[in-house]
Amino acid sequence: MRRSFAPWANPDAKPLIRFENVTKRFGDSTAVDHLSLNIFEGEFFCLLGPSGCGKTTLMRMLAGFETPTEGTITLGDQNLAGVPPYRRPVNMMFQSYALFPHMSVEKNIAFGLKQDGMPKDQIADRVGEMLRLVQLEKLARRYPSQLSGGQRQRVALARALAKKPKVLLLDEPLGALDKKLREETQFELMDIQHDLHMTFVVVTHDQEEAMTMADRIAVMDHGRIVQVATPGEIYEQPKTRFIAEFVGDVNIIEGHVQGQENGLWRVKTSSAEVPLTIDDPDEVLHSGQAVAIAVRPEKMVIQRDPPGQGAINVLTGEVWDIGYLGDWTVYRVKLATGEILRVTRANASRFVQSPIEWDEQVYVTFAPDAAVILAE
């Protein structure tokens, strides 16, 4: 069901949130730099980037806590310029949760509803509904200081959802939770978002979190968006070296374009004797251009026996390190040039006849379409 959800691919679809050429400067530093972005209704959208990349500022502008220096932000048909945070149909879950310490859990959840002047019995119903949603019915009368980290996170979520906002903003929603709880909560958030048909915008620096939850990810760096795409596209077709290295592990081989043969690029590198053959037809390159070839570790094959005559993309080296992770084994292979490649192999069977050992001479190969060419 979810697979078919792709309003961004439909040119007629009207985005719910539009950032148009938005810039935000704090004194001399530019937090967000001429950024344009569309987010569609019902999307689970992730803003991903290292700290200081401007993702939090972007979210705070959407919530109304910061005003853009230039550019416009629209929500539906409404231009948000000059609309204060308390009049925006947007709610936020804060990184610190920001629960009111002098109010019980139910009072916290009821706070937003009270501001709207909702009648008391309706407030009680809605609070009950929210408590059931986050499974905290038993803790309604507790105070935030009497709750665990995970419980506080749920109260913060319930409070932000109570008003049925058009958009829910989540600032590092799982940052304060431990690993196991984080994984569970990721899936819970996805279920809640799906059930409520709400638009979620999440700020995170954790690429795994973004990959798991998001419909689309915007990778940000230095106040700009480097790429907006689905998790699959971000991983398999990163646009820049920054994205390839920020999202997941990658081997980068530098070289120069030699030419094109049968639609395949030939790239001369110092790592391999024969030029490498790469199938990345969308790239527009010219001969002699400096490029980086990016290959994910799991798309490389490691073997002891030399590949047959005419084999392409062969790199030779010796095993430098082996890391056994249970499900995967990681090999670090040192090439003659001194470069170290990371190759992973799924441990599909429990016993291997003669496993590859330390210091062994090995051959690493990869298919032409396993690699991506990134223009430098």
Binding site: A63, G64, F65, P84, P85, Y86, R87, V90, N91, M92, F94, Q95, S96, A98, L99, F100, P101, H102, F111, G112, Q115, D116, P144, S145, R159, A160, K163
Partner: protein, 267 residues
């Protein structure tokens, strides 16, 4: 580490406390003296407390003192809290350093100067001296103490709580009254109590700005003592000491609790 007190430590502690509190202790003790002679112990009696409550002039002064203390502390709390908000919230505004200096000036200004300048001011604007001039003068004196107490609480205040309230639909004023104020209330009460006690035991500024018909208890006691020590005055002083001690202790406890709770909520 050896945490036990050595003989030397105990001795210094006793001497220190004796130096600070022996005179006060003596005064309280002699307020229960049966003898009219202040320096001769004539047995235990509470008669001077009785006499004190029948002494209309002293009771009148006490009543004025309480009213002045309450009113000036209230005014100082409102103004001091506003000043603390301005200092912590408006970041860098032109004249901020000057404003900070001016708010804290009465704290270090010699009381004689404060009293005298206020007197000159009231004379210049032709304001009849009495109850209101003492109240205003005390507000000037105590406001900065409220500011210090409230400001230290606001510094540790988590601003995202206010953002959360606004995000949930509360306009700024309602955010202040439903989130900010309840959370800083203990420090405001502490500031009030501090201002109250400061006003109660002030002699210098009050005597500069007092007029006919409005004499505070410290002024009354001071002038009574000039005519000779009386056990009645001892009794009045003992009560005053009691109230001030109570006020200071509650103020300290309240501000300590307020800062502790803000720290706990940060986690």
């Amino acid at each position: 580490m050896n945490r036990r007190l050595s003989a030397f430590n105990v001795t210094s502690l006793v001497i220190g406390f004796a130096f600070l509190y022996l005179p006060i202790l003596l005064l309280v003790l002699y307020s229960f003296n049966a003898s009219r002679l202040v320096t001769v112990w004539g047995g235990f009696s509470t008669q001077w407390y009785g006499a004190l409550f029948r002494n209309e002039a002293l009771m009148e002064a006490a009543w004025v003192t309480l009213r002045v203390a309450f009113l000036s502390a209230t005014l100082a709390t409102v103004l001091g809290t506003l000043a603390a908000l301005a200092l912590t919230r408006y970041g860098r505004f032109p004249g901020r350093t000057l404003f900070t200096g001016m708010v804290y000036a009465p704290m270090v200004m010699p009381e004689v100067i404060t009293g005298l300048s206020l007197l000159l001011f009231f004379v210049a604007v032709d304001f009849d001296r009495g109850f209101w001039t003492i109240t205003l003068a005390h507000t000037t004196l105590t406001m900065c103490f409220v500011t210090v107490v409230v400001q230290s609480r606001l510094m540790t205040f988590d601003r995202s709580l206010e953002e959360a309230a606004m995000d949930l639909g509360a306009p700024p004023l309602r955010t202040f009254f439903s989130v900010t104020l309840p959370l800083i209330a203990p420090s405001i009460v502490a500031g009030f109590l501090l201002a109250f006690t400061l006003s109660m035991d002030d002699l210098v500024i009050a005597s500069f700005n007092a007029g006919p018909g409005a004499t505070t208890l410290p002024i009354k006691i001071y002038s009574a003592v000039r005519l000779g020590l009386s056990p009645e005055v001892n009794a009045a002083s003992a009560i005053l000491i009691g109230i001030v001690t109570l006020g200071v202790i509650s103020a300290t406890l309240l501000s300590k609790r307020s800062i502790l709770s803000s720290r706990r909520n940060a986690h």
